[in-house]
């Protein structure tokens, strides 16, 4: 049975048929017919953000924390251009989004009409795919295809540009089952030869390491489960990128912590010294590899990725496997078991002994002394006081992000929302709103820096309007901390424009929006203040004044390999005092 309906109604119907329950958006002239349809139904909730960038990040938070695609609805022109940062962010981090933009009527396209922009042109390089729908009869089919493209293969953001006359005109609605099957069907099963080679390498390896990434999370909960099974069964140490945290639990005994520029000493040393590196759903990002010609010099490298273009992009791979992580890991386990569950026990024991030596460096140690809160201490306490909760953590971008990754533990996938690839300041707050919409009962905390947080602070209005009890935990050092750190280390301590002047009073700011503000500057008050934040049923801005000149360590200085890490001032000083080997 076919149903005639307007384009605007079709949009809402197609979203319902795709199982969408929340849309993040902002109305405007070119999407009014769709907003009119949203008004006349109750199945889909619309969250009115305060800026279109916020809508896209909120949808990213929703998608990352649920595994479902996030949906955004914005108007033409500025609505679409404001969404560009979020689209690029989602593309870099492979987050599935379906973004619907209004467009001026087809007969006005190309006339420089009011609020006209070449949206498909502008967003072509920052979406996985996009469409301009010029006829209502193609609209429902296009929306179903868009969901397919956004969620299959390597996920990513897609955009559908819908001219206003297409929203008004009527045509037959096509349901998801009847939609044309798109030829886009990426390979999910891994090549069995590669899998057998990998298993053979695992059996022989003396110093293997799993290096996992966001691909494990994107592959779904089954991938995390299979990864855990594989790690436990083989006893191979595992590290992860920023994007992959939580796929293997932080409390797991094979866990080395995060790797990379601000990764843990033991994780980076293991990467440098391994003889078999098994990359699962990561992409050898420059924040991970450091100097490429000295990257893990003696290892055989296996790489499992659903995107063939990730393989051999920057690092030459010896065992490439193209496929979905869950499918490939299932086959790896099957083959490994069928061949007798072999590992190089003697080699592994020696390898773990070396890793234990590295662990003794205790690269994350810090000393909380005096009357100023160390940011590490603040996150350590936040972790201790919240780890039992049903908890989701978002971050902005900078030092606080790295400290959150270092000092907070993630036990499951989809619990950690951060802007990894693009490094978008202003991501975390709207993302926390998206997460809270998806998980109304959960504790959602955005670990932020004051500078990042201000970039999308207008979303306080959204949090208050929808009674979303998101906790904004701001480590306030009155500096653009990471910029300041690089200026200290690389630019002769000339702190060009890297301090935050004229900051608002965050407590009053919270109150002005009708939320709660908490100021904490004394380490002795910290626990009570955090408990006050947790006990409050509503959005909170927690202004935590921290040490202003703290640097984030460990750090692989740019242009150096993994074994040339800088450790924190504390541990470096101690090492000198003891007259022992200087580790830097």
């Amino acid at each position: 049975m076919t149903r005639q309906m307007t384009g605007a109604k079709m949009v809402v119907q197609a979203l319902k048929d795709q199982g969408v329950d929340v849309v993040f958006g902002y109305p405007g002239g070119a999407v009014l017919p769709i907003y009119d349809e949203i008004f006349q139904q109750n199945d889909i909730r619309h969250v009115l953000v305060r800026h279109e960038q916020g809508a896209v990040h909120a949808a990213e938070g929703y998608a990352r924390s649920t595994g479902k695609p996030g949906v955004v609805l914005v108007t033409s022109g500025p609505g679409a251009t404001n969404a560009v940062t979020g689209l690029t962010d989602a593309l870099m981090d492979s987050i599935p989004l379906v973004v619907l933009t209004g467009q001026v009527p087809t007969f006005m396209i190309g006339t420089d009409a009011f609020q006209e922009a070449d949206t498909v042109g502008i967003t072509r390089p920052c979406t996985k795919h996009n469409w301009l729908v010029s006829d209502t009869k193609n609209l429902s089919d296009t929306i179903h295809q868009a969901f397919h493209v956004a969620t299959s293969g390597r996920p990513g953001p897609v955009l559908i540009d819908i001219p206003k006359d297409v929203q008004f005109a009527s045509a037959d609605y096509v349901g998801p089952q009847k939609a044309r099957t798109h030829h886009y069907q990426p390979q999910v099963k891994g090549d069995i030869e590669g899998i057998t080679d990998l298993v053979a390498a695992i059996e022989k390896a003396k110093r293997p390491v799993f290096y996992t990434g966001g691909g494990v999370i994107n592959s779904g909960p089954a991938a995390s489960q299979l990864l855990r099974e594989l790690v436990e069964a083989t006893g191979i140490p595992i590290t992860s990128t920023l994007m992959g945290l939580g796929a293997y639990p932080a409390s797991g005994k094979h866990w080395l912590g995060m790797l990379g520029m601000h990764g843990l000493y033991e994780a980076n040393m293991a990467m440098h010294g391994c003889d078999l590196m098994i990359n699962i759903g990561a992409r050898f990002d420059d924040r991970i590899t450091g100097r490429l010609d000295a990257f893990s010099p003696d290892s055989t490298k296996a790489h499992i990725d659903i995107d063939p273009s990730s393989i051999n992009k920057v690092i030459k791979t010896d065992i490439p496997i193209v496929g979905d992580i869950a499918h490939v890991l299932e086959d790896v386990l099957k083959v490994w078991k069928s061949r007798g569950r072999k590992v190089n026990g003697e080699g592994l024991a020696k390898w773990w002994a070396r890793i234990e030596e590295w662990r003794k460096v205790d690269c994350l140690k810090f000393k909380q002394q005096g009357k100023t809160i160390k940011p590490q201490y603040a996150l350590h306490r936040l972790e201790e006081l919240t780890k039992g909760h049903d908890r989701y953590i978002c971050t902005e971008v900078g030092q606080h992000q790295m400290w959150a990754a270092q000092y907070m533990g993630f036990e499951g996938p989809n619990r950690w929302m951060t802007s990894g690839g693009l490094g978008t300041m202003g991501y975390g707050f709207p993302a926390s709103i998206g997460v809270q919409m998806a998980h109304p009962e959960a504790l959602v905390i955005n670990v932020a820096g004051e500078a990042s947080w201000l970039m999308n602070m207008q979303e306080m209005g959204t949090a208050v309007q929808y009674r979303l009890p998101v906790k904004q935990f701001i480590l306030n050092n009155e500096r653009l901390g990471m910029v300041r750190q690089w200026q200290e280390l690389l630019h002769g301590e000339r702190y060009s424009s890297s301090w935050s002047e004229a900051l608002p009073d965050f407590v009053k700011l919270a109150e002005a929006f009708g939320a709660k503000g908490i100021l904490c500057k004394d380490p002795a008050d910290l626990d009570d203040a955090i408990m006050e934040m947790l006990d409050y049923d509503g959005p909170v801005i927690f202004d935590c004044l921290v040490e202003k000149h703290e640097n984030c360590f460990p750090m692989i200085p740019s242009g150096e390999p993994h074994n040339k890490m800088l450790l924190g001032e504390v541990s470096t000083k101690d090492a000198i005092k003891e007259g022992g080997a200087v580790l830097v």
Partner: protein
């Protein structure tokens, strides 16, 4: 010196621009890309090349299947073997791309290009131009008392050679289609 053992502000390194030691031999490859003939598809392909810093030596495109609405894009590109592999993988992940063929590695192939050359001259030069055109099997498709337009088809090298010969004889204008290519046999 800071306790960090690096002199502050002294690093000459940047986090970027650290190319690995892949082979730096430049190779020229001809790629045939089958795409859905939908709006913007050529922009996607070209945008990929410009956005990621790849070279396009030549590019041709036309719809080849009017019922299935697929087009064939023939791209001649130059890069290191690793870059060529990346180009193919990146092309492959564009949603409306159906197939990517590297004709340079998939066995023998034929490559043809069409060019129009306008040659201006009188007297001996004019006769010589006509004689050379005959040797190269180029056709005169337009003629005045003082000019010819030659049409020549062949591999790009043949057209280059013909153009070089025409230059001293009064070559004033040239239009080339770019390469169309196809593998030999089945």
């Amino acid at each position: 010196m800071s306790p960090l053992k690096i002199k502050k502000g002294s690093s000459k390194h940047s986090a970027y621009n650290l190319r690995p030691q892949f082979s730096d031999v430049q190779e020229t490859h001809t790629l045939a890309v089958i795409v859905d003939n939908e709006p913007g598809v050529l922009a996607r392909v070209i945008g990929l090349f410009s956005g990621r810093g790849y070279n396009i030596d030549s590019l041709t495109v036309a719809e080849v299947d009017h019922t299935g609405h697929t087009s064939r894009i023939t791209i001649v590109t130059t890069g290191t073997p690793q870059v060529i592999e990346q180009i193919k993988a990146q092309l492959g992940r564009i949603v409306p791309v159906h197939e990517v063929h590297d004709l340079t590695v998939e066995g023998a192939s034929v490559e043809r290009e069409l060019a129009l050359l306008k040659v201006e001259g009188e007297g001996d030069k004019r006769v010589e131009a006509l004689r050379l055109a005959d040797i190269f099997r180029a056709n005169a498709v337009d003629s005045t008392h003082s000019s010819f337009v030659f049409e020549i088809t062949g591999a790009p090298e043949k057209i280059d050679a013909f153009a070089e010969l025409m230059r001293p004889l009064g070559l004033v204008e040239m239009a080339r289609t770019g390469v169309a290519a196809m593998s030999r046999g089945l």
